[in-house]
Each structure stands twice: as C-alpha cells, then as structure tokens.
C-alpha cells in the first residue's frame, strides 16, 4: 500500500484522550474531545511527528519500514547504501545512555557497516549539494530582483527553504499561492537518492535496479517524502526506505552491537564527504548559515574570515538578520535580509507578509519542528525531569 495514502502517523489504542497533542499539532489534524480516543486526519497531517514525541503515553506511532530494510540487507543481490542526516549523530547516542548532544558520528558509521550496509555515505554530502543548488537559485532570484539581464526566469523573492518535507506539505495544503517562493531544490535526502542511483551507481558499476537506498532520519515526514510519487528522478524510486534515529537504535540493539565501545570510523568516499556547513543543517538556522557562507563567498569573491553567523542561531521561533554582501559582478553591496522560522506554528505571520508583498526578506528558512531537525519526530524521546 502507498504510505502517502495510509499516512505515517497514527494514534494507537493506548490513547487516553488526555488531549495534550491537539495543542502540539499545528495543522489541526488531530481531533477528539478530552476523554475519547483521538484521531489523525491524514489529509491535514503533515507527518512531522511532533505529537508522537510529545505524547505522554507513547500512544502515537509512525509507519515502520524497518522490515523492508532488513529484507534488503539480507538480500545478497541488492547493493544497499545508507545515508544519515546530520541531526542523527548528536542524538543516536542517547538511546545508548550517552548525554544529548554527544557526537557519535564515527560509531554510527561503524554500526551501519556492521549491520551490513554495502556503502555508508552521508546525507551531509547531499546537504552540501543542496547548498550549491539552492544557494545558486537564491542568487538568481536576487539578480532578477535587481534587474540583471539573463535572470528573467528566476522565481520571486523572498525564497523559502525546501529541506523540510513537513513544511512543504504545510505550504502545499494551506498556502498554494506561496509555492513559487519555495526553492525548487530538493531536500538533501531526495538529492542523495537520484545521485546515488545515477552517478554513484555508474562509478560503482552497480545497476540502479540492484541499488537500495536507505536513509536514517531524525524525522517521520521523511518517510512521507520518499514516497511522494515524483521522487523518482533517477527513473526508480530515489530513496527506497527511511528509518528514524529511534529505529536505527533499535536495530543496533537487536543486532547485539556494543554501540558505545565501537571504534570511530569514517564514511565511504565518493558521495560521503561532508563539511561543517552541512553538519549544522540539523539545527534551526543551520541551512541559512550554510547558504550564507557559500553565497557570500561566491558573490563577493572574497574568503570569509569568520564563518559563524551568530545572529541566525538560537531557539527563538522567529529570528531575523541582515548581512551585507558585496556583489563583485555588480560592483555594489547588497544588504541581504534573512529570516529563520522554527516551529511551524510561527510561520503564518511571515507568510502573510510575503503574500501581501510587504516582506522585507530575501531568504527565509522554515523548519517544522521547534529547534529544527535535532528535535524531529524521529528522534529519541526524552522525558527529562530535572
């Protein structure tokens, strides 16, 4: 069955009707009075999984593709490659008793190799690719806005980021007029898929039908995203299966791997190398910061001394900053206004300004989950009380 139709997030029979989740859900997809079992309307649900990680009784679950992944790993004919999102490496350790934020990148690669993946790559590579495409797209839109010849076909400003599938569905459902503003660049997960099944498959001499692409995501909406019908640019399903951070931890435990004592390994090369810019994709403001690092250097022709952009960091739901970028080709300096939204509840005001033509921004990053992917619906569930 098609998971897009079935939906990713379900309320199980353990629901106590405490009604906490209706305040978490930004789209009003959850219905039910206090005391009765709640229900998720799949048409409205954006699969973000925030209700899941915030349910006091663990009564909400997501569709699992773990069995599909296990079957692929057991199939000797399949060449199984895996990519992992940035936010996974600072949370996976929590399932093995490590503190939140502990970097277990090296152990994560090691564990995936021991699970039998033929190549361990990294979504961060694709995040760098996203910056190349999305950053260039932004530059084109800015040039069009400034009236530079040759960029007439670029889209309107401001440009919105497109990495977050929950945000995409939210915009598609609620603000269809906004869609031209959203970057046409695919998310890193969906860039990795077609690159793996074309470029990497060619280099590795693997037929794309024999390649199985798995991604490990901090996110439940990524499961929905990989099943979108248009995600087959390679000619095949670009990303075959998505598992969450929680599910990866469960698989590692089931395989009896002593995760904490694994040696640190590195990702395979070809499409596995990543940069610091890609790493911070996992937190709110990270895509913005990564894009600005690249856009600044490409536009100005200068090297950034200090790469950190502290004014787009933090956990405030809506943040804004202005960065003066000297544009070499035009011989002038452009103050670029950016905005970062984290928590989809806070995006409506920003969108309404854009639709009314009053928005001061050039580039707007939107992440559905409060805090960004590090707090995604597929991450380890924490109930810290002290």
């Amino acid at each position: 069955m098609n998971a897009v139709e079935v939906g990713i997030i379900r309320v199980t029979s353990s629901c106590k009707g405490c009604d906490h989740c209706t305040s978490i859900c930004a789209t009003g997809a959850i219905s039910g009075e206090m005391g009765e079992k709640h229900h998720i309307d799949l048409k409205k649900c954006i699969s973000c999984g925030q209700c899941l990680i915030n349910c006091p009784f663990s009564a909400i679950e997501d569709t699992s593709m773990v069995d599909t992944v296990k079957r692929a790993l057991a199939d000797p004919d399949l060449f199984v490659v895996v990519q992992e999102a940035p936010a996974v490496r600072v949370a996976l350790g929590e399932e093995f008793g490590l503190a939140p934020g502990t970097n277990v990148k090296g152990k994560m690669y090691a564990a995936l190799r021991r699970l039998g993946f033929d190549r361990v790559y990294d979504t961060e590579f694709a995040a760098d690719l996203t910056i190349m495409e999305e950053g260039t797209e932004l530059i084109h839109r800015v040039f069009k806005h400034l009236g530079v010849a040759g960029f007439e076909h670029a889209g309107p400003l401001p440009q919105f980021t497109s990495c977050c599938p929950a945000w995409i569905k939210y915009a598609e459902d609620k603000f269809p007029d906004l869609l031209p503003h959203i970057s046409s660049a695919k998310s890193p997960q969906q860039m990795f898929g077609p690159i793996a099944k074309t470029y990497a498959a060619q280099k590795l001499n693997v037929h794309p039908t024999k390649m199985f692409v798995v991604s490990v995501m901090p996110c439940t909406a990524k499961k929905y995203e990989c099943n979108r019908p248009e995600m087959m640019a390679s000619g095949y399903k670009d990303v075959d299966a998505v598992i969450t951070t929680r599910e990866l931890a469960a698989i590692i435990k089931e395989a009896g791997i002593d995760f904490v004592n694994l040696p640190d390994e590195t990702a395979d090369n070809l499409v596995g190398l990543s940069t610091g810019a890609a790493t911070i994709f996992g937190t709110t403001g990270g895509v913005m910061e990564a894009a600005l690092r690249t856009a600044y250097e490409l536009l100005s022709g200068q090297t950034l001394g200090k790469v950190e952009l502290h004014n787009v960091r933090g956990l405030k739901p809506v943040r804004e900053a202005t960065i003066d970028i000297p544009i070499k080709d035009l011989g002038r300096t452009l103050p670029v206004n950016v905005c970062v939204v984290t928590g989809i509840k806070h995006v409506d005001g920003v969108i309404e300004e854009v639709l009314a033509g009053r928005s001061p921004y050039h580039f707007i990053e939107v992440m559905n989950c409060p805090g960004g992917c590090v707090n995604g619906g597929g991450q380890p569930i924490r109930r810290d009380t002290y």
Binding site: A87, R89, V90, A91, A99, P100, G101, F125, A127, D128, L129, I131, M132, E133, G135, T136, E137, H140, A171, E172, P176, L179, I182, S184, A185, K186, Q190, M191, P194, I195, T198, P229, E230, M232, S234, G235, L270, V271, L273, T275, G276, A278, T279, I280, G282, T284, A290, R293, T294, L298, L304, V307, L315, P370, G371, V374, N375, R382, D384, T385
Partner: protein, 120 residues
C-alpha cells in the same frame, strides 16, 4: 435517664491553630506541586539546545566548513552534473535535483515519464 447529648460550640486556641495549620499545609503542598510542574516544564526542552550545541561543536571541528569547498561536490559537478566545470542548475541538475510543488506535480510526473522513455 433519657437525654440528648451534643457538643458545645467554641474551640480552643490549640484547635484553631490545628485547623488553620492543616489549611496552611494544604496551601504549601499545592505550591510545591505547582513548583514541580513548572520545574519539569522548564527542563523538558533543554535537550534541544544540547543537541544543537553538539552540531555546532562538530562544525567547528570539521576541516572544511563551506559547502562549495567540498572536494566530492566539486568532483560530482565536474564529472557528472556539469562536465568540466562547477556549475549548479544545469539541465541535468534540474532534472535530478529540483522539483515542483502542489498543482505542478502532475506536469512534473509527465516530464519524468517522458525522461524515462528517452533514457530507455
């Protein structure tokens, strides 16, 4: 002896303070309970900042910190996406790495089918 006995009104100081004392304790317990709730609320989201800090620390430790300097990205463009140069948003990149949304998806699906036909 048939009579009806009943307690008389009025209370002693000791009784008054005991009654008032219990009410005071109830108020304090309620306050403590509310404090527990507020404290639990305050720390409940701390892990988000910790995970984010983990990523920022990792970024600082990386040898390369800008996407366009990633050698494998440069190689991907030179070998595949824009042969010979690093040029984003080529037609090939458009096909593989860009998408469309909402109402534009049926047309995109049509194009993808077309593309597949060509490739085959």
């Amino acid at each position: 002896m048939v009579s009806i006995l009943a307690e008389k009104g009025g209370i002693t100081r000791r009784q008054f303070f005991k009654g008032a004392g219990v009410l005071a304790v109830v108020a304090v317990v309620a306050g403590v309970f509310a404090k527990i709730g507020i404290d639990m609320f305050k720390v409940s989201d701390d892990y988000i900042a910790k995970r984010a800090a983990g990523l920022y620390t990792l970024d600082e430790k990386m040898a390369i910190r800008k996407s366009h300097e990633n050698p494998e990205i440069i190689q991907l463009y030179k070998d595949f996406l824009s042969p010979g140069e690093v040029k984003p948003m080529t037609e090939k990149a458009h096909h593989l790495l860009h998408t469309r949304y909402g109402q534009d998806i049926p047309a995109l699906l049509e194009e993808l089918r077309h593309y597949q036909g060509e490739a085959a």
